[in-house]
Amino acid sequence: MSAEPLVVLEEVEVVFPSGLGVGPATFTVAAGEEVLVLGPSGSGKSTLLRTLHGAVPGAINARVTGRLSVAGRPVAETGVAGLADVVGVVGQDPSSGVCLSDVDDELAFPLENLCEDPARIPGLVGDALAAVGASHLAGRRTAELSGGEQQRIAIAAATVTRPRLLLLDEPTSMLDAAGIDGVRSAVAGVRARTGAAVVLVEHRLDEYAGGEGLAGLPARWIVVDRAGRIRFDGPATELDVDAVAELLAAGCWLPAELEARVVPTRPPSGRPDTPRGTGPGVTGPLRSGTVRRVGSGGGAPGPEALVARGLTVAAGGRRGGTPVLHDVDLEVAPGEVVALLGANGQGKSSLLTCLAGLHAPLAGSVEGPAVGLVFQNPADQFQAHTVRAEVAFGLPPGTESQVEELLDRFDLADLAEHNPHQLSGGQMRRLSLAAMLAHRRPVLLADEPGFGLDRHATVAVMQALRQVADDGGGVLFSSHDLRSVATTADRAIVVTGGAVIARTTPRRLLTDPDLLGRGALRPAPWLVELAAACGDDVALRRALEAADRRVGELGRAVAA
């Protein structure tokens, strides 16, 4: 067994034509080691990962200096193809990680590229599918899979060749609790069988750890700051309170036990009598433009409400497709935020696109005002060549100040002249929301608005949704993140098995283990405890908002 490190970086720096970059990085990864790379959105984590297997500069234009070698091979000379037998890569966007039309072909492709014995291929494909919990997807067409299902197939394809180095870029972003378990067990299985090293970029640390907290995460952390410089490289247990506070201030999501050292989340004591919103509000490096007014709350659906009756929705909205949801009744009244919850593939995206009028339902009706929809894949909705033009798209002249205010609020001001497609995943998500908010539709639908975002960005996005409701609009969003749901939503709708199984509030949902089980939802244990300790929904929301506010203050203190 060689003692040579698997990955060696010496003063590796990546600079894009725009001047932004990441590095210089000098570190090694030993064979079989697990490393977690974390940092705020847009800091260069994905770029660092792509540099490790040669996609930067091979496929993506950038200047890379320094020396980098993987498994003893200099990456600058081998390129991506030269590392194909030792590196497996899972990207952030599941639809771009899948390239063939059948699941079986998709998994056989890497094996064929490596000249694997054809007789062994079906067995290896079956093993890889079983390892990610996707055996039921064998024989399906990849275009028909939901985002989360595609992600599982992408992970299976990356691990089917038993690589020595596995690079995972936010593999859990689109996945539900069962899917996250699948990722974790797949990665653990690969490590157990082949001793592969893992470099993981992840935001949702608590979910990835599966309730084990720090112990369930890679032992070694590399922290990248907003400017792309490496700030910390070492065991997570060596992080002291100041370092943790700095990470929180930078906007990283941290496991609850680390966050609790700096910002304890506890139920509010006494009777809260200050109406929500008249306090200073949560402002961090992402400034909220307006002070929130007291919301009007829900009520009987008025003329501005979105009402759906007896809706039957086909998978992906295809005409004549198989129905994925039957007989759905729902209302989104002005002034309320409703969350749509459910496992992958249960029809949440299809329902949202149907409500937005993009597809005709198979049965039933949708009535209501003009609706705005924020897509699951932000790149699908981009229309313009620059970020500023995207936010301003379709607006009447004279609204420049509003555009600037939105850019400021979502921390896109310094990216205003960039091309939308060249942003990081989280930046694209913020841009798509900002562009839709500019139009002030009476009802706003959002498909996983918090996906791939760091803490500050998630708080800003959820606040923006809350603001829409406070300004009199209605909001319906789908999410896997129960914390965001508990912080923002007035009501929660759970879909499973083709039907709506619950219409409830976030707190009642969190304290109902039976419902959580039926909906295949798995909140973090601390969130369940907090929900039980809080007397009602408002108290729960207050507690979570208070924690967000304190982290926002930390961020402002550091930025100042």
Binding site: G19, G42, G58, N61, H385, N419
Partner: protein, 205 residues
């Protein structure tokens, strides 16, 4: 600038796919132009036979586009041949299989202008020369096939075809390349590597 080893290495898969996509897309567009040619020929009445010379430059377009984006020798010729194959095999071009020969000559002519600049000069002049050579060289082959030798409008045809080549096959090509570049879709192809200043200074966010 491409590194020396990259200039000699095989074309990366991504560039091959782009070349094929351009070839097929323009194969269809060329076929559309043929329909426009028919309409123009009828509209021009007794001068209808000259309509092909008026529109000729349009059939050169894929070569400068492919060369400007991929920046490797030969991609213009291949893309042009692919386009003609699509026209002949899938769209039933009235010209028939000899169109492929004409496409090869056109592609060669278009490439020649860029080759003379060592694939590093991409100004208006190079594009114009590309259109001129693409239209001019193939003229003599078409004249042989169509029996234009001996006609007293021979040089009129030649002049019209060359003018069309310069405008529609050269200058229009640069307009298209610049428009594509502005959308950002070409950010990771060789065209953008040449756009990047050699010394990029890292800036802080």
């Amino acid at each position: 600038m491409l590194r020396r080893d990259e200039e000699r290495a095989a074309l990366p898969l991504r560039d091959i796919v782009l070349m094929v996509v351009l070839g097929v897309t323009f194969g269809f567009l060329y076929w559309v132009l043929v329909q426009a040619w028919n309409a123009l020929a009828v509209a021009m009445g007794p001068a209808g036979d000259l309509a092909q010379h008026v529109l000729f430059g349009g059939w050169l377009l894929v070569a400068p586009l492919a060369i400007a984006i991929i920046r490797r020798p030969g991609v213009g010729i291949i893309a042009e041949i692919l386009a003609s194959v699509v026209e002949v095999v899938f769209l039933g071009s009235p010209v028939g299989p000899t169109l492929v020969i004409a496409a090869a000559v056109q592609g060669f002519g278009s490439e020649l202008a860029f080759a003379l600049g060592r694939y590093r000069r991409f100004g208006w002049g190079t594009y114009a020369l590309s259109g001129l050579l693409g239209a001019g060289l193939v003229f003599f082959y078409s004249a042989f096939r169509s029996g234009w030798y001996g006609q007293n409008i021979f040089w009129l045809r030649f002049a019209m075809q060359c003018a069309s080549g310069v405008v529609l096959g050269g200058l229009l090509g640069k307009v298209l390349v610049d428009a594509l570049r502005a959308t950002g879709v070409l950010a990771n192809f060789n065209i953008s590597r040449d756009d990047t200043p050699a010394e990029v200074v890292r800036r802080e966010r």
